[in-house]
């Protein structure tokens, strides 16, 4: 069969003997993995080459899109001068505290909302309105109320992270397998124990989808907020470099932003794995 998604996902798992046979033929799982990683690396290398070569051969204007090595040079300068660390720290504090505040508030609140059906039915439409209001549309409101300092930035990141986690917590808690709840009741578990031992663990995978969305949102909103009014941070750095025609520096800052996004996503995926090792 061709290596399509369909064939890949429906293939049965090898039993130990089949695995042995496969190893004998030289297709160990480790090797399959190595091939996968090599392909991924190749993809990144191709992208880097395209970025490096197209400006040089003149497909793009070299001034607006400098070749990769100039960007990397600018990045190295940023790193050695300590400028990068300063901006990165400012950004991390903002999105980190916004994200953590949102998580700490949204999970208990979401659980409480889902636990009591009347409450859930009461707040659900309101939540839909809030969720579908783009956080950035509210940026002026936040600055109006909280000024242009740290408070308004952290507040808007918290806001943006809050709703995905809240809604996924509600969904996760409300859709726990009723059969599991029945066995908890048969065992005479108190509501609190049922929540702690059955409902919450069952909801964790669903909650994590919200957490991952929030992770991405925390970076997105961070950059936008920093572009509007800040004296430090990656968003500020991008804008500052842009206004001063430090184009390679601007791209270096953008590159760091996407690496940060990547790191956040992989970190959260790793965390999710740790918490849901029990899943097939």
């Amino acid at each position: 069969m061709s290596p399509s998604l369909l064939a890949e996902r429906t293939a049965g798992r090898l039993n130990p003997r089949q695995e042995q046979a496969a190893r004998a033929k030289g297709v160990s799982p480790g090797r399959t993995r190595a091939v996968a990683i090599a392909r991924g690396v190749a993809g990144v290398v191709v992208l880097a080459l395209v970025w490096e070569l197209l400006p040089i051969v003149g497909v793009f204007d070299r001034y607006f899109i400098p070749p990769l090595h100039e960007v990397l040079q600018a990045l190295a300068d940023l790193a050695t001068s300590g400028e990068l660390a300063r901006h990165l720290r400012a950004s991390l504090v903002r999105s980190g505290s916004g994200f953590l505040l949102a998580t700490a508030a949204a999970i208990p609140l979401g659980a409480a909302i889902a636990w009591y059906r009347p409450v859930r039915e009461f707040v659900q439409p309101v939540l839909e309105v809030f969720r579908n209001t783009a956080a950035l549309a509210l940026l002026p409101v936040f600055t109006l109320i909280l000024g242009i300092g740290e408070a308004s930035k952290i507040a808007i990141i918290t806001y943006a992270c809050f709703f995905p986690i809240l809604l996924s917590t509600i969904a996760g808690v409300a859709t726990v397998d009723p059969q599991l709840l029945r066995s908890a009741r048969v065992l005479g578990l108190s509501p609190a124990a049922t929540f702690r031992k059955v409902v919450f663990p069952a909801a964790v995978p669903t909650i994590f989808t919200g957490i991952r969305i929030s992770g991405a949102a925390s970076i997105l909103v961070l950059i936008a907020a920093e572009m509007v009014g800040a004296k430090a941070g990656l968003g500020f750095l991008i804008m500052y470099a842009n206004f001063n025609f430090l184009i390679p520096k601007m791209y270096a800052a953008i590159l760091v932003t996407s690496l940060l996004g990547l790191a956040v996503n992989y970190g959260l995926v790793g965390l999710e794995r740790r918490f849901s090792r029990w899943r097939a």
Binding site: R182, S183, R185, V186, L187, L189, K197, W278, R279
Partner: protein, 272 residues
């Protein structure tokens, strides 16, 4: 320890949507069902699919309340679930994020009164009892259907309830495992004196396990007959209970009872 269970004139109706229109209507699942389960007895409940066996079990477990009639355990009305009654559900209900062993410990945590080490010890004992000593650290998704059911059985036994309610617990097992667990269950019952209510649609299983077999009829669910099983159960190496004529006679009697129900509705259809 064991308890007597009395069901008196129990009725249960569900609200369901009609086939032709979308309106809610009442569906009578159980009607005037009476059954007296003696303390310490092993009672099996057979009946055609959909006759209301699981519904009866839910009521005894205290998970649902009847629309009419009364249920009592040791003379006290059943008002909700309790640790005196344990249930093995028709669908296995293991916590997927806990290993086989931790799933049993879960029940022991709920019961309370045991230390961490004692719980682990007890869990291992009961896993061994159902032949899964080597699978203690497997997650449910790494177990076969029958293995999951065995873990669920071990979990129910582990906290030594007074009443054990089992809903087709051996349905997913192969014949050999099934027979082994049947014998194991009988010996556990003999040792502990627990009252067992065992639902099955397998007539042989019902006769083999039950001191009495309650045969249910469908639409509405009722107890049609309760048959006293008197078989020589003394364990002997060369004694195959299932091959005796007495066993065959009981089997046939229950088979006929169930068969009559099966034929009856068709005859009605012919007349109409």
């Amino acid at each position: 320890m064991s308890s007597r269970i009395e069901l008196h004139d129990v009725g249960q109706t569900f609200l369901v949507r009609g086939d032709d229109d979308r309106r809610l209507r009442e569906f009578v699942a159980l009607d005037a069902l009476s059954l007296d389960i003696r303390a310490g007895e092993f009672l099996t409940l057979v009946g055609p699919s959909g006759c209301g066996k699981s519904t009866v079990l839910d009521l005894i477990a205290g998970l649902t309340q009847p629309s009419s009639g009364t249920l009592r355990v040791d003379g006290r009305p059943i008002s909700g679930p309790g640790l005196d009654r344990s249930v093995v559900f028709q669908q296995y209900t293991l916590l997927p994020w806990r290993t086989a062993q931790a799933n049993i410990e879960f029940a022991l945590e709920a019961k309370g009164g045991l230390g961490k080490a004692e719980r682990a010890e007890r869990a291992r004992t009961y896993l061994g009892l159902v032949g899964l000593a080597n699978f203690a650290n497997r997650y449910p998704h790494e177990l076969s259907g029958g293995m999951k059911q065995r873990v669920a059985i071990a979990r129910s036994l582990s906290y030594q309830p007074e009443v054990l309610l089992m809903d087709e617990p051996f349905g997913a097992l192969d014949a050999q495992t099934r027979e082994r667990l049947q014998e194991e269950l009988v010996s556990i019952w003999e040792r502990t004196g627990t009252t067992v209510v065992f639902i099955t649609h397998d007539i042989e299983e019902a006769v083999f396990l039950g001191q009495r077999v309650a045969v249910m009829s469908a639409r509405p669910g009722r107890i049609r007959e309760v048959i006293e099983i008197e078989l020589d159960r003394r364990p002997a190496a060369d004694h195959d209970l299932r091959a005796t004529t007495a066993f065959a006679a009981y089997r046939h009697r229950i088979w006929s009872l169930l068969r009559e129900q099966h034929v009856a509705p068709q005859e009605v259809a012919h007349v109409a």
